[in-house]
């Protein structure tokens, strides 16, 4: 933490400065919070990020368009499929390529499976941060099933590199479709079990109800996106409101925070919106599998991609909110500027103003409910 920050904290009062992180069990990766506490109650938590900054935007300018695809996985390795899709859509807009229908459906299926896996990690770590270790193991056990499915599809468990500019790398292996349908059927019954185990647990409700409330205006003003935004009652989902890819063909509803545990926009709402979203993802994946059209999975794309000079912004509804890719091209084979605006980065911005008056245990609940992960924040 820098001297500039310390200057902002007046040292005469006898509050304790605690460094929460960067090696701390519940800061979801390498994040650091300088916390001013007076005993249990915090006056302020100043976030400090950058421990996992790999300058992926600079790499975008060095590596060619197709070569950057594996790097988009590294922006958020828990939900890598969305970053792939976002970048692919952006470059497809630049070179004006129409992706075949089958590839769009395969993208939707792989993304929804990845959303379930990412939400499982989020609600699992949330349960652990509140103290219950077993739900995390159940969540990771289900995520293991998804990892195996996606590994059969594209060969990797975390950094998929499955989408390509103009389509998808591989088609569905045979027998995969029934495996996914069986998994979806089993998973929907597991969500109910999960709810009975932890969601309606009285201690859980008391620990998350009315904690770290973010009002609707604050959420929009601070630019929160995804489940954090919907948890505060804003009914906005990029898949439905600014549709892309194959999503116009699917019917699904968007869960919005309704104050199940007291107030709208508290930590429980953001958590329960993710649980409901997993059920919707199952619906979408099932519809996509049933209506999967035939056809090839890759459009005609020149071997050396040289888009004409211009810029484009593509929006994708990632597991952690709206992931926006801003690509500027100057006619050469390498992008002139690649910018990925992620949900976690903005969610970090709100922590300092929301955290005054919280207790330490609630700061952990706040961080877990915002589902902030270090790679997405630092890029």
């Amino acid at each position: 933490m820098s001297k500039l920050v310390l200057r902002r904290i007046d040292r005469n009062n006898e509050e304790m400065l605690v460094n929460f992180g960067p090696q701390h069990p519940s800061t979801h990766g390498v994040l650091n919070f300088l916390v001013e506490t007076d005993g249990e109650v915090m006056r302020r938590a100043i976030p400090d990020i950058g421990y996992l900054h790999r300058s992926l935007e600079k790499i975008g300018e060095i590596v060619g368009y197709p070569g950057y695809m594996p790097y988009t996985d590294r922006i958020d390795y828990l939900a890598a499929m969305f970053a792939n899709e976002g970048y692919a859509i952006a470059v497809e807009k630049l070179i004006k390529v129409e992706v075949p229908k089958r590839a769009q459906y395969l993208r939707a299926i792989s993304c929804e499976l990845n959303r379930i896996a990412s939400h499982l990690v989020s609600i699992g770590t949330m349960a652990t941060d509140i103290g219950a270790v077993t739900p995390l193991v159940y969540a990771l056990r289900e995520r293991e099933a998804i990892n195996d499915l996606i590994e059969a599809l594209c060969g990797a468990r975390l950094t998929y590199n499955y989408h390509r500019i103009g389509g998808v790398a591989f088609d569905m292996p045979e027998g995969w479709r029934d495996k996914v349908l069986h998994f979806l059927e089993r998973f929907e019954s597991l969500i109910q079990e999960w709810d009975r185990l932890i969601t309606w647990n009285e201690i859980y409700l008391k620990r998350l109800g009315g904690v770290a409330v973010i009002t609707r205006e604050q959420a929009i003003d601070y630019g929160l996106v995804g489940p954090n935004l919907r948890g505060s009652g804003v009914d906005w989902d990029v898949r439905r409101d600014v549709p892309y890819g194959a999503y116009p063909d699917f019917k699904f509803d968007v869960p919005v925070g309704r104050g199940w545990a007291g107030t709208v926009g508290d930590a429980f709402d953001r958590y329960y919106v993710r649980v409901l979203e997993m059920a919707q993802s199952c619906r979408i994946a099932r519809q996509a599998l049933e209506k999967l059209p035939d056809g090839e999975t890759m459009a005609k794309v020149p071997r050396r991609i040289k888009p004409e000079a211009g810029e484009v912004m593509s929006r994708v509804e990632s597991a952690r909110g709206e992931l926006a890719y801003y690509v500027v091209s100057d006619g050469t084979e390498r992008a002139y500027r690649v910018r990925a605006r992620t949900g976690s980065f903005l969610a970090m911005g709100i922590i300092e103003d929301i955290s005054s008056g919280l207790m330490i245990a609630d700061l952990i609940a706040l961080i877990a409910s915002l589902d902030v992960v270090a790679p997405e924040t630092d890029r």
Binding site: R54, S55, K58, I59, I62, V63, G64, P66, G67, Y68, M69, P70, Y71, T134, Y138, R141, E144, D148, E151, A152, L153, C154, G155, A156, T159, N161, A169, F170, P173, E193, R196, L197, I198, W200, N201, E202, I203, L205, R303, R304, E333
Partner: protein, 252 residues
């Protein structure tokens, strides 16, 4: 805080009900089968066979059907493949590959090199067990500089390319090397030559404009491929090598 008695009793009832359900679920888990796969020794079949066919493990190059087209070298975003073609001393018509190295330590197993390969010589295998004490052992060398292999000529009507069974060559390389062998001793880094006279266009300009992962031109430049900083070899300005501080290279 609970003020009304009904809320007071309600809290107790909810607590008891939710604990009742929660405890019964955890007990029901005790009666189900744990999902642990007892790697490494108590699995029904070696773990490699449990993995799906498209698993992206170590790369394997079948020298018999490699046409030396360097498509994989160009496709790799972090340029961890290096191929060197030469004229065969015996008959100049035949080109030979004298160096085909893949730095598996830096490879991120993204699979971009497998796609453009015309004959499918380079493939991902399902091997993943290759821990080495020294990172220098993780460079797999598929061509012996002393006996470079001839380049494969693709017959027009070849129905398929005769390929060694997937994974066999990698397993053979791994078995040859014990895990704690120390790596090859590199030569000391070369003293920095003064930058070449600016007049003639340096050799870099003549090199094929490799679209992906342009290699640093000057030999002396310690190619900055820091796995840690993950910034791939920044395309040095062809004019002058970056002012690397001092030798900039840790002594081997």
């Amino acid at each position: 805080m609970p003020t009304s008695p009904s809320e007071y009793v309600g809290n107790i009832r909810d607590t008891v009900k939710s604990f009742w359900h929660g405890m019964s679920i955890t007990l029901s888990q005790v009666l189900r089968r744990p999902i642990t796969v007892q790697y490494p020794d108590r699995t029904s079949v070696p773990v490699q066979d449990l993995l799906p066919a498209r698993y992206r493990g170590f790369l394997e190059v079948d020298a018999a059907i490699c046409t030396g087209c360097q498509a994989c070298e160009r496709a790799c975003p972090i340029s961890c493949i290096q191929i060197l073609l030469e004229k065969d001393a015996a008959n100049p018509k035949q080109r030979v590959v004298s160096q085909f190295d893949i730095d598996e330590a830096k490879c991120m197993f993204c699979g971009l090199c497998v796609e453009p390969c015309p004959t499918g010589a380079i493939q991902h295998t399902r091997e993943f067990e290759a821990t080495q004490r020294s990172i220098r052992n993780l460079v797999f060398r598929w061509a012996d500089p002393l006996h470079p292999f001839p380049v494969y000529k693709v017959q027009k009507d070849a129905p398929y390319f005769p390929r060694a069974p997937l994974g066999s060559l990698v397993r053979e390389i791994l078995s040859r090397r014990s895990w704690d062998a120390n790596g090859p001793a590199y030569l000391p880094p070369e003293p920095l030559k003064p930058p070449p006279p600016p007049a003639p266009k340096p050799a870099a300009a003549a090199k094929p404009p490799a679209p992906a992962g342009a290699k640093p031109a000057a030999a002396a430049t310690p190619a900055p491929k820091p796995a840690a900083a993950a910034a791939p070899p920044s395309a040095d300005k062809p004019a002058d090598p970056p002012p690397s501080p001092g030798s900039g290279e840790p002594k081997p």
